[in-house]
């Protein structure tokens, strides 16, 4: 029983950053912003959470977790704001700029864990471990499942409610569905809306990074994220950009990845099989969506 519980909770732990980053991607895509930079925003969020925690845990005590997650959100939002501002002012394609910002974030982590944030003995390229007060509470005793998972689920529910029931959600959807229609028929400030959506998407991805640091790794190091930001795109798409669906697809991908590492341990099946399966799934979903869209278009004409 214990081993099975550990497997299930490990899958949920792995699903947490995928889910939250997936929500970030879904929010952006729904709002017509191609934010491919969840990876970078996640890493910057992780940096901010680590830095804030290490600097402030002795003063703030237990409350430092919330401050750290807030800082992660701000940092992620800031990272997205760079691309958002470039897009708004100079029409820079956000796809390119966010991918480039990913690389900057990855190397920023490399620099920080070897420089200013390196642990005191200066041997390992990672930061000092976060103190126990600064770690997220565990949900099920004896497992690694932390509060971040609940945060992810609640965020998904909140986003779903926002999309369906609020004017803001409608504006975001309208902007994404057809900017021209939103502008002419709905008098929606498209440029401002996409800017804000971009920022919120970045903030969510940043929180994912902060949760990963305070809930799982307890330190910042290189390769903190095994491509969470990219997998998150798949997570969001498989769910059809539906926030509630992202809970399911996030858990599915989390299980797939933990399962793949277990397979490698037990049966020497390469764990990279997981990414092949993921990519094949994305392509299958894309193909189905495209075929459906074409059918709708044909019927309309």
């Amino acid at each position: 029983m214990g081993a099975e519980l550990a497997l299930v909770t490990d899958a949920l732990v792995r699903a947490t950053p995928l889910m939250i980053a997936g929500l970030a991607v879904a929010l952006a895509f729904r709002g017509g912003v191609f934010n491919i930079g969840a990876e970078g925003q996640l890493l910057v969020g992780a940096i901010a959470a680590t830095a804030v925690t290490l600097a402030g845990h002795s003063i703030l005590g237990r409350g430092v977790v919330f401050v750290a997650l807030g800082a992660a959100a701000v940092a992620g939002g800031f990272w997205a704001a760079i691309a958002a501002e470039l897009r708004r002012r100079f029409h820079v394609l956000e796809i390119i700029s966010t991918i480039m910002l990913n690389f900057i974030a990855i190397h920023l982590v490399s620099f920080l864990v070897r420089g200013p944030l390196q642990e005191p003995t200066h041997i390992y390229p990672q930061t000092e471990s976060l103190p126990a007060v600064a770690r997220l509470p565990i949900l099920i005793p004896g497992s690694r499942l932390h509060l971040g998972f609940a945060v992810g689920v609640l965020t998904a529910v909140a986003l779903s409610w926002m999309f369906r029931r609020t004017a803001i959600g409608f504006r975001v959807r309208a902007t994404g569905a057809s900017p021209l229609a939103a502008f002419t028929a709905g008098r929606i400030d498209v440029s401002r809306n996409s800017f804000l959506v971009f920022l919120c998407s970045g903030a969510l991805a940043g929180i994912a990074g902060g949760i990963e640091v305070t809930g799982v790794t307890f330190a910042l190091y290189e390769n903190l994220s095994p491509g969470y930001g990219y997998t998150a795109i798949a997570v969001a798409l498989i769910a059809g950009l539906n926030p509630l669906g992202i809970i399911a697809s996030g858990i599915f991908f989390g299980a797939l990845e933990t399962g793949a590492s277990a397979l490698q341990r037990e049966f020497a099946v390469p764990s990279s099989l997981a990414s092949v399966v993921e990519a094949a799934l994305i392509i299958a979903v894309l193909t189905l969506t495209a075929a459906r869209n074409r059918r709708v278009l044909e019927r309309a004409s």
């Binding site: 491509g227 795109i233 798409l237 392509i283 894309l286 495209a290």
Partner: protein
């Protein structure tokens, strides 16, 4: 050899694969496709090259990587152009699948040993005389042979893009006039066809080392021809020269571009015909007048 010279030499050597990939991406981007899956094509090309060069021949490795790149690009093209799935997302999926697949194959073929395997590599070939130019001589002319191939292929791509009708057609399809978005995917298709056609010729000799492949061999759908109204209506070469002299579609000589093979094309229901081409040109002018431009500004 001074340290600075060695640095320049290394810079050019490192730039070679990047430049190949960028060259491929340039052509696809000009034809209106964003290939984010370039990373996947590169890693697949590297793997294909490694497997093929295991036989001991470097040039066989080059061919192997080109084939691998073509396979990846063909998958990308079929998904985005034929099925019309989103280019960006397909691109990330292609990268992901290539990363996973190459890692998996590597483990299957070579086992999961820690030691890196090695294959023969290309030694630097020095160009006589030119190599003795001070400072830049060694950087530019003491490189592996593939770098010299790059030197050759860059002007060829430039010439093709700006001085042939196929190149102009690719650029035409790549323009995304704000007013006729509906035609976009169709235009993209014919642009890629041109790119494929172009590469058919080059590809056989060699095309991509570990660079982007972005073409399917075959796919001979139609031959775009460009007509100019002023005084050069006699044959494709004349019109090529005429249109090739203008850098983009804004010039008034190129007032209509059309595809005579469009009947065949339409029979497979992909390519629009003359009207679309004229529309693209017209809408460019329209945009220049400002009405469309202001609209797109508010949109973005």
């Amino acid at each position: 050899v001074s340290a600075f010279e060695a640095f320049l030499e290394g810079a050019v050597r490192t730039a070679t694969p990047l430049a190949f990939a960028a060259l491929g991406e340039t052509v696809v981007e000009r034809s209106g496709v964003i290939n984010i899956g370039l990373e996947g094509a590169i890693i697949a090309g590297a793997f294909g090259g490694f497997v093929a060069a295991g036989s001991g021949s470097i040039w066989l490795g080059m061919v192997g990587s080109a084939i691998a790149g073509i396979l990846v690009a063909a998958a990308f093209a079929i998904i985005t152009i034929r099925i019309r799935a989103d280019q960006i997302i397909t691109g990330t999926a292609i990268s992901l699948i290539c990363l996973g697949f190459t890692a998996m194959l590597y483990q299957q073929i070579y086992g999961a040993t820690g030691a890196a395997l090695s294959i023969p590599t290309m030694a630097a070939t020095e160009v006589p005389l030119l190599v003795s130019i001070p400072l830049f001589g060694r950087a530019l002319f003491a490189q592996p042979a593939i770098t010299y191939v790059l030197y050759l292929i860059i002007p060829v791509v430039w010439w093709w893009m700006y001085h042939t009708h196929a190149g102009l057609a690719v650029r035409a399809t790549g323009e995304d006039p704000c007013c006729d978005r509906g035609w976009n995917s169709c235009a993209t298709y014919s642009g890629l066809v041109c790119a494929f056609r172009w590469c058919n010729g080059w590809n056989r000799r060699w095309c991509a080392c570990d660079c982007a492949g972005w073409f399917i061999c075959g796919g001979d759908v139609s031959r775009p021809r460009i007509h100019c109204h002023r005084d050069c209506r006699s044959g494709p070469m004349a019109s090529t020269r005429c249109c090739g002299s203008c850098t983009d579609l804004r010039c008034s000589e190129c007032s209509s571009i059309f595809l005579p093979g469009s009947r065949l094309a339409r029979s497979i229901s992909v390519i629009p015909c003359a009207a679309v081409r004229a529309d693209i040109v017209r809408s460019r002018r329209y945009r220049r007048k400002g009405s469309c431009a202001s609209e797109s500004r508010t949109l973005a």
